[in-house]
C-alpha cells in the first residue's frame, strides 16, 4: 500500500447516514424493538434449550437485519453520494432497478456473513475461552448470531473494500449507527461473559445464554449510541 494513498482513504472515512425516507426512519427505530422483543419472547426457551432456540431465531434475526439493510441503509454504491436527495435519485434509476440494486447486495451480504464472518467469529469466540471440545452447536450458533448482528450491514454499506475493512477491524472507522451496532454487540457479548463463573447456580448462567443476551442488548445500545450520541466519533487507541 503506497503511503500517499493513505490520506485519501482516511478522508473518505465518514459516518454512514441512514436513507432519508419515511420507511427508513420507521424501520430503523422498529429494529431494536424487534430484536429485543424476540429475545425477550424467547428467553425462557433460550434457557431451556439454547441450541434449538438459537437455531429457530436465526432466520428471524436474519430477516430483520435484511430488511434493515434494504430499507434503511445505502448500499455499497451509494456511499459516495454526498447528500442523499430522494428526488434526484428517483429520477436517475427506475424503481425496479432500485429494488434489485438493493436486494442483490443484501443477499451477498448475508452470504458473506454466513460463510466468512460466522466461522471467523467462531474462531474468535473460541480464542476468548469458549469451550473447545464440547458445546459445539452452542458456540457455532452463538457465532452465527454474533455474525448476524455485526456484519451484514457492514458488508452492505462498505462492500469488500480492503482499506475500509482494515479501518473497521482496527476500530478507526468513525462511529455511525451500523458500526455502533456491531461494536455494541461485541462489547455486550464480552460483558455477558462476566456472570458465567459466579456461583449463583442459576439456570441462565449456562453457556451461551448470558453472552447471547449481552450481545443483543449491546447491539441495541450500540446502535442507539452510535446513531445519536457518538455519531462521527473515532476510537482512539493511543
Amino acid at each position: 500500500m503506497a503511503p500517499d494513498a493513505e490520506p485519501k482513504v482516511l478522508q473518505s472515512a465518514k459516518p454512514v447516514e441512514l436513507l432519508q425516507s419515511q420507511p427508513s426512519f420507521f424501520f430503523a427505530n422498529l429494529q431494536p424493538i424487534l430484536l429485543l422483543g424476540t429475545l425477550l419472547f424467547s428467553f425462557k426457551s433460550l434457557v431451556a434449550d439454547p441450541v434449538h432456540t438459537l437455531l429457530g431465531l436465526a432466520p428471524t434475526v436474519a430477516i430483520v437485519q435484511a430488511i434493515y439493510c434494504v430499507v434503511c441503509l445505502p448500499s455499497t454504491g451509494d456511499v459516495a453520494a454526498p447528500t442523499p436527495k430522494p428526488g434526484q435519485k428517483k429520477k436517475a434509476v427506475k424503481p425496479g432497478q432500485d429494488i434489485w440494486a438493493k436486494v442483490i447486495p443484501a443477499f451477498l451480504s448475508f452470504t458473506l456473513t454466513i460463510v466468512l464472518s460466522a466461522p471467523l467469529l467462531y474462531i474468535i469466540v473460541i480464542l476468548f475461552g469458549a469451550p473447545l471440545t464440547t458445546h459445539h452447536p452452542h458456540t457455532l450458533l452463538f457465532a452465527l448470531h454474533l455474525a448476524l448482528l455485526t456484519t451484514p450491514h457492514l458488508y452492505y454499506v462498505h462492500g469488500l473494500d480492503a482499506s475500509t475493512w482494515l479501518r473497521l477491524a482496527s476500530l478507526q472507522q468513525p462511529i455511525d449507527e451500523s458500526y455502533g451496532m456491531s461494536l455494541g454487540a461485541c462489547v455486550g457479548a464480552w460483558v455477558g461473559a462476566i456472570p458465567i463463573p459466579l456461583d449463583w447456580d442459576r439456570e441462565w448462567q449456562k453457556w451461551p445464554v448470558t453472552v447471547v443476551v449481552g450481545m443483543y442488548v449491546g447491539a441495541v445500545v450500540g446502535k442507539l449510541a452510535g446513531g445519536y450520541l457518538f455519531k462521527g466519533w473515532k476510537i482512539k487507541l493511543a
Binding site: 503511503p3 474468535i124 473447545l132 461473559a193 463463573p197 476510537i235
Partner: protein, 1115 residues
C-alpha cells in the same frame, strides 16, 4: 516524546562535548556514572522490597495467629471433677493412679498405634458402597485393597470398630499429628511449612505417656521426633526421613522390619530391651504413592495390599491387653495431594481393634461400619468422628489424664461395650462427663488466663487485649447445655437406669459437639491492630510504587537516589520514634518499630516524589485505562470466591481481550512493516494464549465444569504418554523459534549461535531425557521378564541417572549460560560492501531484503569510528561498512538471560508445564515485537512525513509490564498450579536432589511454583531494550527499565494488597481458608519472589547487557 528519549538526547548532547575534551576519560566517567546509578537503583528497589516485606509480615503476624496456647498440663491426681465439687458431686471422682486409670478405670495396658499416612476412608470401605450401585463404575486402583479393616469390623463388631475419621484442615501431616495428640484445633501458621516441624509445647498424649512413665516406641515418619523430641525409647525407636516422596518403600519396610519383632517377642523378652507400652508406627508409602502417582495407580494398589498384610499380621500377633489403633492422618484429593480442606482430603480412617470384646454400638440397627465417609445414622447424625476424638478416647482407655486443652469427645463405641459388648450407658456417661469437665475447666482457665500466659509468640502477648475475638467461645447456648447436662447427671444418679444414663451421655455429647463447633467457628483469633497496621503500610507502599512507576516526572533511575535517601531517613526516624512511643502503641515493640520504620520510609519517599512534582498516576490514555482496569478488575474480583476460583479462565479472557486490542492497534500502524509484524505477532500471541489454556489443573471447586489435562487423568499425578512428546517437541522447535526472532534482526551471530543453537538445544534434549526416564520409572517400563529371569533396571540406577542429568542441565544453564551472558560480546557482525543504499539497513521484516526506508538507517562510519580506539578511516571511500544486527543489539544480548533461566525452570516442570512454559517464552518474544511495532522507530525523526510516523507509543506505556504480569499469572495456572496449598508440587524438590537439603529444596519448590512469574520478571528489562538504538544514553535506558520494572512489581503489589485486604475483610467468610487465604498467601509470596528475582536477576543482568553493548559502541 517520552522522558527516556529526552534524556537520551541530552545525554548524547553532553557526550558530544565531553568527547572533544578527552574521549577516553569521558567515556570512563560515563561508565562509572552508569554503574553508580545502577547500584543506587538496585538499592532503591531493595528498599521498596523491604517496605513490602515489612507490611506483609505485620499483616501475616496478625492474620495467621490463631489461638493462645495454655501451658497447663493435666495431672493424674487432679481430676477435672474436683473443679466444682459442689456442682458435680464428689464421690464419682477419678481414682488418681496410673495403675488403675487416672480419671477413669482403664481398659488397656498397652497400645499399638499404626498410622497409615493419607489413608482415605474410601480406600478402606468396600466398593461399590452398596449392592444397589454395583453398576456404578468399575473399581479404581485404590478400591477394595485393604479389606481387612472393614471385614474385621463387620464380622467381629465387639472386637473391632471402623469409622470415618474427619481431619481438621490444614491436612498436612505435621498439623494432623498435632491435632491427633493434643486434641485441639490447628493453627494455620505452619500449614505451608510442611518442611520443618517444631516441638509441641501444649499438653498432649505423648507427653502424658511420658509423664506416666510409659515406654513409647516410635517407628517411621520422623515428623514425630521433631514434634516430641526426647519422648521416645531411644534404643527401640527408628525414625525415617519423611519428605522423600519419590521413595515409596524405605520407610514402610523399615517400620515393618522393627514392628513385628517387637509385637511377637514382647511377652517372651519382657523386661529386657523389647519392653514397651505404646508403639507408634507411622507408614508413609500410601501418602507417597498418592503424591507421586495419584491414587488411581498400580503403585497405590501394591501399597494398600501391603498395608492390608501389615494390619492382618498386627491383629494376629496382638497381645490380649493391647489396643490396636490403625488410623490415617488425612485423606488425599483426586490426584493424591493434600493440605486443603476438600472432602476427600479430610476424610480419613479410624480402626480400633482389641482381642477381647470391648466395643459396643449406640444404635443396634447399625452394626456394619459406614459404607461411605458421610453416612448418617438413623437420627441423621453423621457416623464419622472428628480426629481429635481419638485423644480423650485413648487417654481414658489407657488410664491417662485427658490432655489439658483437648476439645474432642470420647468415641461412644469404645466405651459402650466394655467386656460384655452390651451397651453400658453409665460408663459412657461417666467418660463423657469427665471429658466435658476437662473441657469446661480448660475454658475457665482460658478465659481467666492473663495474657502473659500465651506462648504462641512473644509479640502476641500484649496484643490480645485489643483483639476483637479474644472472648472465650462459651456462648449462652453452651452454658445452658452444660447446666442441663449436670442436672441430668444428678437426676440419673438418683434413679439410675440405662435410659437415663443414655440421656446424660447424649447431653454431654451435645455439649462437647456444640463446644467444638463454636470453637471451629470462632477460634481464629485475628489480631486486628497488627492486621490493620500491615494493611495500612502495604497500601501506602503500593501507592508510593504507583507514584514512582507511573506518576513521577523525570528520569526514573535518576530520581531513585534522592528517594532512597529520603526513604532511609524516614525509616531511621521512624524506628527512632518507636523507642519513644512504644509504651503508647497497642503493638509490641518489635512490631511498632517495623510499623514506624516502614511508614517513615513511605513518608520519606512520598515527600521526595512530591518535591519532584509528580502527578497523580491516573490513567490518561486508552492503553493506560486498559492496563489500569486489567489490574483493578481482578483485584476487585478477588473479593468474590467464584471469581477467585475461576481465575485461570478469567485471565485467559482478559489476556485475549488485550491481545485483540493489540491486534487492532497493530492494524492501525501506518508503516506497512510495523503493521505486518504487529499483526502477525498479535495473532500468534492470541493463538498461543488459547493453546496454553488447554493445560488445566482443576481445583475441587471448579468441578464438574472443568476437566484436568495437566496429568494423565484427574486421579493421577503422572503424565500420560502423549505428554512425554512435549519436551521433545520443545527440543526441536523452541531453539528455532528463538533463532527466528534473533535472525529477523540479523542478530543470530557469534555466541548466540553457540548458546541457542547448541547449548540450549542440548539442555532441552537432556530435560526431555530426564522426563522420559522418569516416566519409565513410574510406568515400570524397564522391569519385566526376559530370558535371564527377571530383569530389573534398578530404580536406584534410574534415579541416579536422572539426578545426574538434572544436575548437568542446571550446571549448563547456570554455569555455561551465565558465562555466555557475562562475557559474550554483542551479537553483531560487520561486513564491508560497495555502497548500495538499499543494503545499509540492518533490520527488515523478512530478514533478507532489508530496505533502508523503513528500518534502522544509521551512519555506519560514525558507529565504526567510535567502536575502535584507533579510528581507521574507511579504507576506500567507495566502500561502506555494514553492521548486521545493529538495531537489536541490546535486546538480543539481554534476552540470553531469560533463556538461561528458562532451562532451569523448565527442568522442574512436568512435561505439560514444559509445553506451556515454552509457549510463554514465545509469547514474550511476540509481545516484544508487538510493542516495538506499536512504538516509534528510533529513526522516525528522519521521516518528516507525518503520515508514516507511528500513532502509538506502547513501549512507554504500562502495557508491556502489565501484560507480562498477567501472562505470568495465567501461566501459573497453566503449569499445573492452583491457588490452593494442595497444588504445590513438592516433588519438584527431588528433581536434582536425592534428599531434602536446605536451602535448596524449598528453593526448588519455589522455582517450580512460580516459574512463569520468575521468567516474566526476568523478561521485563527486555521490554525497554528490545530493538532499541544501541547508542541511546545508558541513563535513558536505565530509566525506562526502572519504570517498567516498577510497573511490573506494582501489578503484583496491587494484587497482593487487594487479596490481603479482602482476606482481612472476609475473615469470617465460610470460604476463608479454602479460597481467600490461599489466594492471599499466593499473592504475597509471589510479590516477594518477583521482587527478589526482578532485583537480583533482571536488574543485575541489565548492567551486564548495557555494559557489554556500550563497550563496543561507546559509553
Amino acid at each position: 516524546m517520552d522522558d527516556g528519549e529526552l534524556q537520551a538526547e541530552s545525554g548524547n548532547g553532553s557526550s558530544a562535548s565531553d568527547r572533544e575534551l578527552n574521549p577516553e576519560v569521558a567515556s570512563k566517567q560515563r561508565e562509572v556514572q552508569f554503574k553508580a546509578a545502577h547500584g543506587l537503583l538496585v538499592a532503591f528497589f531493595t528498599f521498596v522490597l523491604l517496605l513490602h516485606i515489612g507490611g506483609i509480615s505485620l499483616f501475616l503476624s496478625g492474620f495467621l495467629l490463631t489461638r493462645r496456647v495454655l501451658d497447663e498440663k493435666s495431672k493424674c491426681s487432679e481430676s477435672p471433677l474436683y473443679v466444682e465439687p459442689s456442682a458435680i458431686g464428689e464421690h464419682a471422682a477419678g481414682r488418681g493412679t496410673y495403675e488403675d486409670g487416672c480419671w477413669h478405670e482403664k481398659s488397656f495396658d498397652k497400645a499399638v498405634i499404626i498410622v497409615i499416612d493419607a489413608l482415605r476412608y474410601d480406600f478402606a470401605a468396600p466398593y461399590p458402597p452398596s449392592s444397589a450401585s454395583v453398576s456404578l463404575r468399575r473399581p479404581r486402583h485404590y478400591h477394595n485393597l485393604i479389606p481387612v479393616l472393614y471385614e474385621t469390623a463387620a464380622q467381629q463388631s465387639g472386637n473391632a470398630l471402623l469409622l470415618p475419621f474427619i481431619a481438621d484442615p490444614p491436612t498436612t501431616t505435621l498439623q494432623r499429628l498435632k491435632g491427633l495428640t493434643t486434641g485441639t484445633l490447628p493453627t494455620f501458621v505452619e500449614g505451608g511449612s510442611n518442611f520443618a516441624g517444631a516441638e509441641i509445647l501444649e499438653d498432649n498424649l505423648v507427653g502424658q505417656l511420658k509423664t506416666a512413665g510409659k515406654k513409647v516406641v516410635h517407628l517411621g515418619d520422623d515428623t514425630w521426633t521433631s514434634l516430641f523430641p526426647g519422648h521416645f525409647h531411644p534404643n527401640l525407636s527408628h525414625a525415617y526421613d519423611s519428605f522423600n516422596v519419590w521413595d515409596l518403600h524405605t520407610v514402610d519396610n523399615g517400620v515393618t522390619e522393627h514392628l513385628f519383632p517387637l509385637l511377637r517377642f514382647q511377652e517372651t523378652v519382657s523386661g529386657t530391651e523389647a519392653d514397651w507400652d505404646v508403639i507408634i508406627a507411622h507408614y508413609l508409602g500410601v501418602d507417597h504413592a498418592g503424591h507421586r502417582y495419584g491414587p488411581d495407580h498400580l503403585a497405590m494398589s501394591d501399597k494398600l495390599a501391603q498395608m492390608d498384610e501389615v494390619v492382618r499380621q498386627a491383629i494376629s500377633s496382638l497381645p490380649n491387653d493391647t489396643l490396636l489403633v490403625v488410623m490415617g492422618d488425612h485423606g488425599m484429593d483426586p490426584k493424591g495431594d493434600h493440605g486443603g480442606e476438600s472432602d476427600l482430603e479430610v476424610e480419613s480412617t479410624l480402626f480400633l481393634y482389641s482381642a477381647q470384646t470391648h466395643f459396643g454400638t449406640p444404635d443396634t440397627t447399625l452394626i456394619a461400619p459406614p459404607a461411605t465417609a458421610r453416612e448418617r445414622d438413623s437420627t441423621g447424625r453423621e457416623r464419622s468422628v472428628p480426629q481429635i476424638d481419638i485423644v480423650p478416647t485413648l487417654s481414658l482407655l489407657l488410664g491417662l489424664p485427658i490432655p489439658y486443652s483437648n476439645l474432642g469427645k470420647p468415641i461412644p463405641q469404645a466405651f459402650l461395650g466394655r467386656k460384655t459388648g452390651k451397651p453400658d450407658w453409665k460408663n459412657l456417661a461417666e467418660v463423657d462427663r469427665i471429658t466435658a469437665a476437662q473441657v469446661h475447666r480448660y475454658h475457665v482457665a482460658y478465659s481467666n488466663a492473663p495474657s502473659s500466659v500465651t506462648k504462641l509468640s512473644e509479640s502476641v502477648q500484649e496484643d490480645h487485649k485489643t483483639d476483637d475475638e479474644v472472648v472465650p467461645p462459651t456462648g449462652d447456648a453452651l452454658d445452658t447445655l452444660w447446666r442441663k447436662a449436670l442436672q441430668r447427671w444428678k437426676a440419673a444418679e438418683k434413679h439410675p437406669n440405662q435410659d437415663k444414663w443414655r440421656e446424660v451421655a447424649e447431653t454431654f455429647d451435645d455439649y462437647l459437639s456444640e463446644n467444638l463447633a463454636v470453637n471451629q467457628r470462632q477460634w481464629a483469633s485475628f489480631n486486628l491492630p497488627l492486621m490493620y497496621s500491615g494493611i495500612f503500610v502495604l497500601v501506602g507502599s503500593v501507592l508510593v510504587s504507583a507514584l514512582y512507576a507511573r506518576g513521577a516526572h523525570g528520569n526514573a533511575s535518576g530520581i531513585a537516589p534522592p528517594l532512597l535517601l529520603r526513604g532511609l531517613l524516614g525509616s531511621l526516624s521512624g524506628s527512632a520514634l518507636s523507642f519513644l512511643i512504644s509504651g503508647l502503641s497497642p503493638l509490641s515493640f518489635l512490631f511498632t518499630c517495623v510499623f514506624l520504620a516502614v511508614s517513615g520510609g513511605i513518608v520519606g519517599i512520598t515527600s521526595g516524589l512530591a518535591s519532584l512534582s509528580s502527578k497523580i498516576p491516573l490513567p490518561a490514555s486508552f492503553w493506560g485505562w486498559i492496563c489500569f482496569l486489567s489490574v483493578l478488575l481482578p483485584c476487585i474480583s478477588f473479593a468474590s470466591n467464584s471469581f477467585t476460583i475461576w481465575e485461570d479462565e478469567i485471565l485467559l479472557f482478559s489476556l485475549v481481550t488485550s491481545g485483540v486490542l493489540l491486534l487492532a492497534s497493530s492494524l492501525r500502524q501506518r508503516d506497512p512493516q510495523d503493521r505486518a509484524i504487529g499483526t502477525l505477532n498479535s495473532v500468534v500471541f492470541l493463538v498461543l494464549t488459547r493453546t496454553a489454556s488447554l493445560s488445566r489443573l482443576c481445583r475441587e471447586e471448579q468441578m464438574p465444569y472443568c476437566r484436568s489435562t495437566y496429568y494423565a487423568s484427574a486421579t493421577s499425578s503422572t503424565s500420560s504418554s502423549w505428554q512425554l512428546a512435549i519436551p521433545w517437541l520443545a527440543t526441536v522447535l523452541l531453539p528455532s523459534v528463538i533463532r527466528y526472532f534473533y535472525a529477523r534482526t540479523k542478530n543470530y551471530n557469534g555466541s548466540a549461535i553457540i548458546w541457542i543453537g547448541f547449548a540450549f538445544r542440548i539442555d532441552l534434549f537432556l530435560i526431555a531425557m530426564y522426563w522420559l526416564s522418569d516416566a519409565a520409572d513410574d510406568g515400570d517400563w524397564l522391569t519385566g521378564k526376559s530370558l535371564y529371569g527377571t530383569i530389573n533396571v534398578g530404580k536406584d540406577t534410574l534415579k541416579t541417572m536422572r539426578i545426574t542429568i538434572a544436575q548437568v542441565v542446571l550446571s549448563v544453564a547456570f554455569a555455561a549460560g551465565y558465562a555466555t551472558f557475562l562475557y559474550a560480546s554483542p551479537f553483531i557482525s560487520v561486513r564491508t560492501e560497495d555502497p548500495a543504499p538499499e543494503l545499509t539497513g540492518s533490520i527488515g521484516f523478512d530478514g533478507q531484503t532489508s530496505t533502508a526506508t523503513t528500518t534502522t538507517d544509521i551512519d555506519v562510519n560514525t558507529a565504526f569510528t567510535t567502536i575502535t580506539p584507533k579510528p581507521k578511516p574507511a579504507a576506500k571511500p567507495k566502500q561502506k561498512l555494514i553492521i548486521l544486527g545493529y538495531a537489536n543489539t541490546l535486546g538480543t544480548h539481554y534476552f540470553l538471560l531469560p533463556t538461561l533461566w528458562f532451562l532451569a525452570l523448565v527442568l522442574l516442570q512436568k512435561p505439560m508445564g514444559q509445553g506451556t512454559l515454552s509457549l510463554l517464552l514465545t509469547q514474550i518474544l511476540c509481545l516484544l515485537e508487538i510493542l516495538d511495532a506499536n512504538s516509534p522507530s528510533p529513526d522516525h525523526t528522519t521521516h518528516s512525513d507525518e503520515e508514516i510516523s507511528p500513532i502509538t507509543d506502547l513501549r512507554n506505556s504500562a502495557v508491556g509490564p502489565t501484560l507480562l504480569a498477567l501472562l505470568a499469572l495465567f501461566h501459573f495456572f497453566k503449569t499445573g498450579h492452583q491457588a490452593t496449598l494442595s497444588s504445590i508440587q513438592w516433588e519438584a524438590a527431588f528433581v536434582p536432589l536425592r534428599t531434602i537439603r536446605y536451602p535448596w529444596s524449598p528453593l526448588l519448590v519455589i522455582l517450580n511454583t512460580f516459574a512463569p512469574q520468575i521468567l516474566c520478571a526476568i523478561a521485563v528489562p527486555a521490554l525497554a531494550l528490545w530493538k532499541r538504538h544501541p547508542r541511546l544514553s545508558q541513563m535513558g535506558l536505565l530509566s525506562d527499565i526502572a519504570r517498567d520494572m516498577a510497573t511490573h512489581m506494582l501489578v503484583y503489589a496491587a494484587v497482593a494488597v487487594a487479596t490481603v485486604i479482602e482476606a482481612a475483610w472476609l475473615r469470617r467468610h465460610l470460604m476463608l481458608y479454602r479460597v481467600f487465604m490461599p489466594r492471599m498467601l499466593m499473592g504475597v509470596v509471589m510479590l516477594g519472589v518477583v521482587e527478589v528475582v526482578g532485583i537480583a536477576v533482571a536488574l543485575m543482568g541489565v548492567r551486564t547487557s548495557i555494559g557489554s553493548v556500550k563497550v563496543v559502541f561507546g559509553w
